[in-house]
């Protein structure tokens, strides 16, 4: 159980919880909710976003948003 922001590129993980309801709300509408498997495809250095892939669709999460997602590496 680690924050999403700590995962390395290429790691697949299962979303366990999303901390604030506001972020959870938006993630849910973008197609990611608790229990989904996501793949980290890029991390931009300099405190840049984490980019996830789910079902071939890419999602960019600002670093602080990525802190709010607790995941379990698969």
């Amino acid at each position: 159980m680690v924050p999403l922001s700590t995962l390395p590129v290429g790691q697949t993980a299962c979303v366990l919880s999303i901390e604030t309801p506001d972020v959870a709300l938006q993630m849910l509408r973008l197609g990611v909710s608790v229990g989904d498997e996501v793949l980290v495809v890029a991390k931009v250095p300099g405190n840049g976003p984490v980019v996830l892939m789910k079902d071939g669709q890419e999602l960019a999460l600002g670093r602080d948003v990525a802190h709010y997602l607790t995941v379990a590496p698969v």
Binding site: L25, L30, P45, G46, G48, P49, G56, L59, A60
Partner: protein
């Protein structure tokens, strides 16, 4: 259409025939979306509804088109109404509602069609969602467009519309793309059964299924709401989702999503294992898309993009083409000929002659600068931007710049209005609405108004650089602007209370630019530029001539010239250029063009920096005023004056050592 035999017309003109609109042919589904198969079914009707119940649901006077970003709504809107909407591969491009009329063959009447900004749901989370929600509430029927490739995500909005009791017609677009990927198949009949509303299959880029949408619209109906949300009345649900308590809202969303997971699993299935091998393989566009986010390749991408911009706009267009048009054509051929002809009818000493053909003559100046210098540059610029926009590169830039922009209180999304601002600040000021918070909108508006040169202006700057200081001058100019951008952004970030939002966006896939699309967009924007610039130019040159003839110009110049001479180390006459810049920034730079021949390279750089930072042009100032209110408007203008002269002074006194 001749190569795509459509199923027999689904509805007779009376439309009240007891037969279902179309007999679904299961063997055709997901098999050949190219339309070669004459059996390919485009219209699906929920099987549980008995044929005798199929009647148009009336009245229908207005329709709202709703869908996630990047599903192909804008293109469809154009096809349905015959109007052109700006299409781009980028979230947040439709910030205003577009309206058109659509003809419904069944009723033989025209009804209103409203295109709404792309949204992932109707939750009032930002300006776009509120706009879309208001549109949905003000119409009878919702035309919900879904992209087959992002089916899972798009279904959230669809189910939300059904839960809210709207009359819905669902259109599934880009079925050809799904088939091309080959590892998933969408059962549209089953989808229609599950939703309880008619579904139309569509490939908008091939104009397939578009006529069926117009035919089926009167049959839009209330569908099956989420069973798990049965405890809520429609009104309660709408209230909770619009601006309810986040925790309750999340509860509703969670239940809906869970229901959708099951629904999607039934409707969207993996095809047989023989093709599943290719499912794991990445497509070229995906590999490239990821490379553009890589620290090394991504940076390289940005540098190449800028170098290409410099080569195309700065060297080829601003150098060679403008030389030909402005120098050879306008200054050496057309203008002397016109002046020669005019001199036969008018005395060159008369004020009418000076007004029309003098140094700042309405006709001579407009021809020389608008047609000779700006138009080729603006067209080149818009073309380049349209290509970047259309292939989906801008959202990736947003990701790359998020870390940097977050230090000045913005997130990566703000790069998009900034880049559009390079085209025209007037247009981009409106697009700051796509930013989430008021705070971000203020920061972005101020930075854009002050530090970002617009394409017409940048064009003249590049043209000037091409004949004087070249690449180094350009680098110095950009570096100065970036420093001011950074410092100002930081100050605003610290000074403005509140918190900015973080980046959370989906990245549309990269694609080959679609030329028809790009040329249309370039044409419309360039036309818009001419429309904006011409009257101001005509008025501006008239004003300057009148001011010169009456001696007013001399007085103003005298007043400003000590500042110009002592603070900026420029010749006194250049104060005229700054006065011109107040009317339109590019107008000012155009004035500089003539004066530059007698200036040193450092003086040119100083004047360019001042005039770039100087007041936004009249048109953009009025838009900023409208968007941001009078208080902020006045502050922006005063601030840009102060910063412009201050920065100019620093350049004049501090950068003498540059190898320009």
């Amino acid at each position: 259409m001749a190569t795509h035999p459509l199923p027999s017309p689904p509805l007779s003109v009376t439309g009240l025939s007891p037969e279902p609109p179309v007999t679904p042919s299961p063997e055709a589904q997901g098999k050949d979306p190219q339309g070669q198969d004459p059996q390919y079914t485009l219209v699906f009707w929920p099987r549980q509804i008995p044929p005798e119940a199929i009647t148009p649901d009336l009245p229908i006077t207005s329709v709202a088109m709703v869908g996630n970003p990047n599903v192909g709504k804008s293109l469809l809107f154009g096809q349905l109404t015959g109007h052109y909407a700006q299409v781009s591969n980028l979230p947040g491009t439709t910030v205003d509602l577009l309206r058109g009329m659509i003809h419904l063959p069944l009723l033989d009447q025209k009804v209103h069609l409203v295109d709404t900004p792309g949204v992932y749901g109707l939750s009032g989370l930002n300006e776009e969602e509120r706009l879309a929600q208001d549109a949905v509430e003000s119409v009878d029927v919702v035309l919900n467009v879904i992209n087959a490739l992002t089916f899972d995500r798009d279904m959230f909005l669809t189910q939300q519309l059904l839960d809210h009791g709207r009359r819905v017609l669902v259109v599934v677009n880009q079925l050809d793309e799904l088939a091309a990927r080959g590892h998933k198949q969408l059962d549209l009949q089953s989808l229609s059964d599950h939703l309880g509303v008619p579904v139309v299959a569509c490939i908008a880029t091939k104009n397939l299924g578009v006529a069926e949408i117009a035919q089926m619209l009167p049959f839009a109906r209330r569908g099956l709401p989420t069973p798990e949300l049965g405890g809520f009345s429609t009104d309660t649900l709408i209230a909770i989702e619009r601006d309810g308590d986040p925790v309750r809202r999340l509860e509703v969303y969670g239940l809906r999503r869970q229901y959708l997971k099951k629904l999607v699993a039934t409707v969207l299935t993996a095809t047989d294992t023989s093709s599943s091998g290719s499912a794991g393989r990445m497509r070229f566009s995906q590999v490239l898309g990821l490379a553009l986010l890589h620290p090394l390749w991504g940076t390289l991408g940005v540098i190449l993009t800028l170098l290409a911009l410099y080569q195309i706009i700065g060297v080829w267009i601003a150098g060679d083409l403008v030389d030909l048009l402005e120098g050879r054509l306008m200054m050496e051929t057309v203008n002397p000929a016109l002046v020669g002809v005019a001199a036969k009818f008018l005395s060159p000493k008369s004020w009418v002659f000076t007004l029309l053909f003098g140094e700042f003559g309405i006709i001579t100046m407009t021809l020389q600068y608008v047609i000779g210098v700006m138009l080729p540059l603006v067209i080149g610029f818009y073309l380049y931007m349209a290509i970047l926009e259309d292939c989906g590169y801008l959202p990736r830039l947003a990701v790359l710049f998020d870390g940097i922009l977050s230090r000045i209180g913005l997130n990566g999304r703000a790069i998009i209005p900034m880049i559009l601002g390079l085209g025209c600040v007037t247009m981009a000021s409106v697009s700051t609405r796509m930013l989430t918070s008021e705070r971000e909108r203020t920061i972005a508006s101020v930075l854009m108004a002050v530090t970002i040169p617009c394409s017409a202006q940048l064009g003249v700057i590049l043209a000037l650089m091409a004949v004087t200081s070249g690449l180094w001058g350009w680098v110095a100019f950009i570096a100065i602007l970036l420093v001011i951008f950074g410092v100002m952004g930081r100050v605003l970030h610290v000074m403005i209370p509140g918190q900015s939002t973080s980046l959370l966006m989906d990245l549309p896939p990269l694609r080959w630019p679609q030329w028809g699309n790009i040329l249309k967009k370039t044409w419309i924007r360039s036309k818009g530029f001419l429309w904006d610039a011409l009257p101001v130019f005509v008025m501006g040159s008239a004003l300057i001539t009148v001011a010169q003839l009456t001696g007013l110009m001399g007085v103003l110049e005298k007043g400003l010239s000590p500042v110009v001479r002592h603070l900026l180390l420029l010749p006194g006459e250049s104060s005229q250029v700054f006065l011109m810049g107040m009317i339109r920034r590019d107008f000012g730079v155009a004035g500089l063009y003539t004066l530059a021949k007698s200036m040193t390279h450092l003086q040119i750089l100083t004047s360019l920096v001042v005039i770039t930072l100087f007041v936004p042009c009249f048109a953009s100032a009025s838009v900023i005023w409208k968007e941001r209110g009078p208080r902020e408007g006045i502050i922006i203008v005063l601030l840009s004056w102060a910063i412009a002269f201050l920065a100019g002074g620093v350049v004049a006194y501090g950068l003498g050592w540059l190898p320009l």
